[in-house]
Symmetry: C2
Subunit: 337 residues, 2 copies
């Protein structure tokens, strides 16, 4: 099992290694038909396999892309990952999958690695890294998700704010006037845009904003559980709850179950993301669906585009409009306005 090189092939075919290299790279114009045949036959006979390291060393292309997400175990990300992997594979790229766990050190490590290993591109949902730092890596990059703080890069994501509005509007249309919010937030970032959108919706409808109807918590099912508990343990509990993602909503649903609050008869509940587990709860969760696979796919396509034509045209953003998926956890309010 000694590795064969182009030299072995060249010998076998009775040509120079440059010629072999030409046919390998598919440089069709500059090799005569019959010599190409001969070389290909020699390749077959010797069982030659290209060494991507060697060629990459010259061409500076590895056909490898780094995909960095917070955590592949979170059901949201596998779908996005599939999107980028499928699109990238079609074009001959492999993807190195990294979980940052929201940890800046891990993130930096992998970004570093992308450089040392000469990856051709990066697709990232940034945890701690900044626009500037990313710029310094010097590798074509596209951002997963709509962050306004990455102006230097292409990005693709779902319009979360529109999603919030959609959710609130749905609840409002069902007659709900006192709507609780479970607002997930990352340790790192400030007040979420989702909260702002919630507030502005309420004021647009001339509804009263009550502090007690808003609970902030980290993302995580049990946090959703606790949040819902707080929401319903007040004198005037809301008739509907919007949880800012499905994991939180699932936690909330369990809290409501436990408290004997029937969903949707006693209280409506809506989540966001449309992850698979949300479809198997009882009742199945009404939610705001994001385009996850598509987000990944488009990110990959944009990246390939960047890689192919080196031209540094203005960063582009692709935005998906989330969709309301009505399932079983919401129904018209029975309370009088």
């Amino acid at each position: 099992m000694i590795k064969t090189t182009i030299i072995d092939v060249a010998k076998e075919a009775g040509v120079s290694k440059s010629t072999v290299s030409r046919v390998i790279r598919g440089d069709i114009t500059s090799v005569r038909e019959d010599t190409r045949k001969r070389v290909q036959e020699a390749i077959r006979k010797t069982g030659y396999k290209q060494n991507a390291l060697a060629s990459g060393l010259r061409t500076k292309r590895t056909h490898t892309v780094l995909l960095m997400i917070p955590d592949i175990v979170n059901p949201f990300w596998p779908e996005v990952a599939r999107g980028v992997q499928d699109a990238l594979r079609k074009e001959g790229y492999a993807v190195v999958l990294a979980n940052s766990d929201w940890d800046g050190t891990i993130e930096t490590d992998f970004l570093h690695r992308a450089r040392t290993h000469c990856f051709d591109g990066i697709v990232i949902n940034p945890a701690r890294v900044t626009d500037q730092q990313l710029l310094q890596i010097g590798i074509p990059t596209v951002i997963l998700g709509l962050h306004e703080d990455f102006p230097s890069f292409d990005s693709v994501g779902n319009d979360t704010l529109a999603g919030v509005r959609l959710a609130m509007q749905h609840l409002y249309d069902l007659g709900h006037r006192k709507i609780g919010l479970i607002s997930g937030q990352y340790a790192s970032r400030g007040r979420s845009a989702r909260l702002k959108q919630y507030l502005s919706f309420l004021s647009d409808q001339n509804l009263i904003i009550e502090e007690n109807d808003i609970v902030h918590c980290p993302y995580g099912q049990h946090h959703g559980y606790e949040a819902a508990k707080r929401l319903i343990n007040q004198n005037h509990p809301p008739s509907a709850i919007f949880a800012s993602n499905d994991i939180l909503a699932i936690g909330a649903l369990q809290a409501l179950h436990a408290a004997g609050v029937r969903v949707p008869q006693d209280l409506s509940l809506i989540g966001m993301d449309d992850i698979y587990p949300a479809s198997v709860t009882t009742p199945p969760l009404t939610t705001i669906a994001k385009f996850k696979y598509e987000e990944g796919r488009e990110a990959a396509r944009m990246l390939i585009d960047r890689i192919d034509r080196q031209t540094s045209k203005h960063p582009k953003t692709i935005t998906f409009a989330p969709q309301l998926i009505i399932r079983g956890s919401t129904k018209p309010s029975t309370k009088p306005y």
Copy 2:
């Protein structure tokens, strides 16, 4: 942003590139303290970053591993993937994640790629590839899952058969004597070992085996749905159902809901795998938990071991014993024996 090389560093530090190479590789014994300091300072000043392609070309090590699984979107695999990624990252390896989709072509493509890109190792849940083919790749490999047809490799997995027994025993202990089976199967492989185990359990207990209590179907939620429907639409429906994985069980649960069969009051249901969605159904699913993260982690560790000491010692197998997780979908049978 011109890439700096060891030569630049060497110049800056006033040493030869070999010396620079030595300190980069941490060859501590053979560089004097002060020159090392000088070199490190030069590295810092020049912003030098190693080129992993160039070094890999010499050392034949890329610190990259291929992880091939059927589908990252299937909730079982992200946990396994995390296990291998975490363990591998600690040792400085990156992992290229590939979804085979049970497709032999894709599988072969990536395996091929593992060779051309000189990956250091492979962790794979094989779809179509054979022991021999894998052997020919010539890269240290460990198998995910317990397949008897890969005698040449280390492998790690959960003892599914023990799991089947555990599930059946649980149902039996609850007094169930007519137990239906929803047996998932892959398009490619023959009669599943799970079925055999089910049959042998029944005969061990001197229970009657009824063809109508067994439904074969591909893995997939809606197949579980249809299977359960068939199972309960007979004159003598079983009092309990064992679905050979949680996805199937979730489908079954929905069919039972739809048919007005209460779980667990009217019928007990047990699944296998313990994927996250199984914990959020109503009732939450009793299931046989597999060690997913651990499976991945141990696979990674075995792989590293193989890579480090080239020695080709006898293939080893690590087996995890699945555990019964009693949740809400099973209860004592009300039917007389």
